[in-house]
Symmetry: D2
Subunit: 327 residues, 4 copies
Amino acid sequence: MLGPQMWASARQGLSRGLSRNARGWASGEGKKVDIAGIYPPVTTPFAANAEVDYGKLEENLHKLGTLPFRGLVVQGSTGEFPFLTSSERLEVVSRVHQVMPKDKLLLAGSGCESTQATVEMTVSMAQVGADAVMVVTPFYYRGRMNSSALIHHYTKVADLSPIPVVLYSVPANTGLDLPVDAVVTLSQHPNIVGMKDSGGDVTRIALIVHKTRKQDFQVLAGSVGFLLASYALGAVGGVCALANVLGAQVCQLERLCLTGQWEAAQKLQLRLIEPNTAVTRRFGIPGLKKAMDWFGYYGGPCRAPLQGLSSADEEALRVDFSSNGWL
Amino acid sequence: MLGPQMWASARQGLSRGLSRNARGWASGEGKKVDIAGIYPPVTTPFAANAEVDYGKLEENLHKLGTLPFRGLVVQGSTGEFPFLTSSERLEVVSRVHQVMPKDKLLLAGSGCESTQATVEMTVSMAQVGADAVMVVTPFYYRGRMNSSALIHHYTKVADLSPIPVVLYSVPANTGLDLPVDAVVTLSQHPNIVGMKDSGGDVTRIALIVHKTRKQDFQVLAGSVGFLLASYALGAVGGVCALANVLGAQVCQLERLCLTGQWEAAQKLQLRLIEPNTAVTRRFGIPGLKKAMDWFGYYGGPCRAPLQGLSSADEEALRVDFSSNGWL
Amino acid sequence: MLGPQMWASARQGLSRGLSRNARGWASGEGKKVDIAGIYPPVTTPFAANAEVDYGKLEENLHKLGTLPFRGLVVQGSTGEFPFLTSSERLEVVSRVHQVMPKDKLLLAGSGCESTQATVEMTVSMAQVGADAVMVVTPFYYRGRMNSSALIHHYTKVADLSPIPVVLYSVPANTGLDLPVDAVVTLSQHPNIVGMKDSGGDVTRIALIVHKTRKQDFQVLAGSVGFLLASYALGAVGGVCALANVLGAQVCQLERLCLTGQWEAAQKLQLRLIEPNTAVTRRFGIPGLKKAMDWFGYYGGPCRAPLQGLSSADEEALRVDFSSNGWL
Amino acid sequence: MLGPQMWASARQGLSRGLSRNARGWASGEGKKVDIAGIYPPVTTPFAANAEVDYGKLEENLHKLGTLPFRGLVVQGSTGEFPFLTSSERLEVVSRVHQVMPKDKLLLAGSGCESTQATVEMTVSMAQVGADAVMVVTPFYYRGRMNSSALIHHYTKVADLSPIPVVLYSVPANTGLDLPVDAVVTLSQHPNIVGMKDSGGDVTRIALIVHKTRKQDFQVLAGSVGFLLASYALGAVGGVCALANVLGAQVCQLERLCLTGQWEAAQKLQLRLIEPNTAVTRRFGIPGLKKAMDWFGYYGGPCRAPLQGLSSADEEALRVDFSSNGWL
């Protein structure tokens, strides 16, 4: 079982409230939470019969608990949330909440296609212990998801959510970028505290930082691939799939950025790009889970239709880690 | 209430089993159903409070029943299925089944992201009266949805489905084309009877027709925009959003194609393109529902986050109909 | 040497002025040329030293002359025009003009990036014997090539051209679709007689046919892959790379379409798709030239940076022909 | 007239050979030039009659000469090179060479579609005074421009070029990204010294830096929009259209990055994004030239088909500058 003191001890050396946020964000001015920091988007472990393996989930959390994360993202894209039933989504969050120490943030993905379903899932996520929700853009009707529609959607969700809302744009999955003008408008909502942007266009991230600078609005990079660049441009953290495998290194990169050690940060950043691409764009969650198996976590199978890696892919995955000195 | 005799009378003049299928498909050779013909993908009517309005649904079905459709598609993209709960999806299909005559086909969308959920929804759809299921490609993890993954997915669904399966590729929504080689492999499955292709690339449709010619496999165009071309290349019908508004005209186009009146077919086809684009790509379901209101059906509002049309958009929609002589 | 009588004899059986154009186009009403028919976009033969081999060009033309083409396209994308100097472009057209009979049309590609250069090349093409020019959209600054810019460009070219102008949209090469509204505007210009559309979106082709129906404006399909569909929707011919290899078959497909033998047309169309894709999208001009070598023409090498096929690609190319009964 | 001493005085305070290159690149180890620094890609001024206005060119160069640039890029995409004849391309470079001091680098764009033409243009560029050439990827046949073809192309050019070669990838214009594996292979060529990457994907830029770290290979950002991020990841400079307008500010951003003043750099970077987007992606060269008119340079018209800005666009352009405090 993961004890609060383990998480606390993992946080040594980083006095977040002070140095972290170069943009002068301060809690207590109407918005409810400081989300700055690193988050692994935790995977959902499945047993061989495709059922959620809550025991393995707790084991993984136990190991992740030794690292100085700001919190955990549960039911992000990496969590295979589209493959879970509503009750599974809630149960996973509930279990994570139970074993997480209270000084960590639990960001739960609550996005659904309809506004109403998203509101209901958001409320339920709050009830099972989420500290904030991360709401992916609806996207099936992306041809009609213009700024106006998305502003209506997120405003409704934020109005009715008992906990803060984080916007979530992930075009590789959704085929849709949350437009900058919509983000700027939404940043003024008192219950919308920030955004996770997984698109990798740091000029866009910088523009969002710039145009929301008068709001309490925090931007998280959606991948370690562009984490250093995002920090350099005013982002305050990242949700990084690779942190499920190389969590210490991702946190080290954070620390190097926050303490202005940019040369060392650059060296580390460069060595993380290939393994990160391998566990995201190149081999997806099957690649991430395979790497987790190698690094002492439980990866295990994905739910269908996601397939396991071929042996050739597995070898290529290994090279992406070993050629950068991680294996 | 819609009586079977109304549907039957609507079918006058078309002896489908004989002339329809130029590719020589014959039922009873292992595959269970002839899907050739025109289908409106019915919309889901909502009341002002966003609840499904089953009364309006029945009214619409009553009017659609006067037309010589082969059947109805329920819970396609046009049906806003991603905005419905699982029980709503099933209830809508159940209601349609109750009021539809038995000689019409009820194709129900049962696609979900996970294979397991798709199987379960498929079985349930059969229980509430669907004659076949139309299964959209899973797509959230489209980077990993290669032919191998999709073949596994559809094979599993088809193996376990008590009713025939129709593949459904709709890249405008999913960002994913079901690869031709996967279609060819899947066409050999005894419980996979055909495909709806909404991509609009008729060269691809022709290639699929060509490479599945030795199978009992039928291709439906996913839009009236390329219906004539699809017939000319060996498709056997279409699932056409515009048929919710100009159903008689879409059926007339079918008849002209099936009876070889290509010049008249061309003239009609050309006049249907702009209104069709208007109620699909250009203005989406809100455009379709608005047009339904004009043409004696109940359109009504969409569920959020889909927004109603602006007055400027509504005017442009009207021009797309009036400039082609339909209003 | 290719004699006029050979070309004339090749045209047996097709009374083009009468039956060809279902849209009622008639020459002499202000526009200068009827472009209806099939054209091979001729390749530019290179010797081993990469110089243009004019002898081989004449040999190819001699063989093409036995087929009932409406004419030849010279300096289309298939002609590797971007790899030729201006004087080579003109010399090739001049040579083709000298050996072609005068009842055939010589459509010469004269597009350049700037309007001024396009005008100059157009005038020069007329001087060396082109009957009409085919002008590709400028595209390097595609972000600024909106309808207004393209209308200005083509209007200027058409105003100053001594010969008729054919618009040419080829998004696979240019990343740019000539917008439908620009086409409609340009169709009213007395010196713009038609368009070659290589995009493959037959709904778009149909829309262009429909919206220019009151003009003397003719649409050519840019590939045999969608030739039948284009005819069925009102196009009047095609510029077909595959006609450099299977010219008789492409002309046969034309005749079947023009004479309303749609079932036979469909069968032939389906067998042409894979070889066509092989010599265009899949293996490009190197594939086309390799196939020409097989079918009695001179293909030879491409200019660098285009590379020859690997032996694996060559084998795949062969299968695309043999599996459809052409080898 | 621009005197060498003006350029020299403009370079005060930056000892480039020492601190600039964090990656340890040192000249003299086989490669011939250190390209680290900032470059404006100079525009080509046209008179009202569309002729090149060499007088205005010299005036612009005079003003640019007061700024601490590493050199000038001539005939980049911003220079409207596709609209110039070969002799104009060379004459412009020759004129720039004549008025530029010898301690500045003149990088001349010499890319053409064919390898042979690129070689010839490269040799000619060297003859008229270019210090290095910047070679855009050939792209018209992008479907065949795989790594193998591009490696052949660039190797041939670099083998035959009397001056160093800089690779140039600009997908917004070409629709083609020079693949990372091709860059890595080409980085080993003794006459290929670096790359300009205009794609804006800094994860890709970082990966290129990382995988070429054992070569003398320098990466330049192709836009100021991601200049800070590129420096932070190991790039050594930038070719920045905005430097034609806000050259002092771009050089200041360089200095802040090179001296580790990342907070001040971030503030400046953020204010440069909107004006940069305005003069590149949003309004293109017409926007850049309009802004040059405002800032004391000669912008003037573009060659057709590029059109001037509408008054509404001009106003939006102005806001992008004024809202960031630059007007």
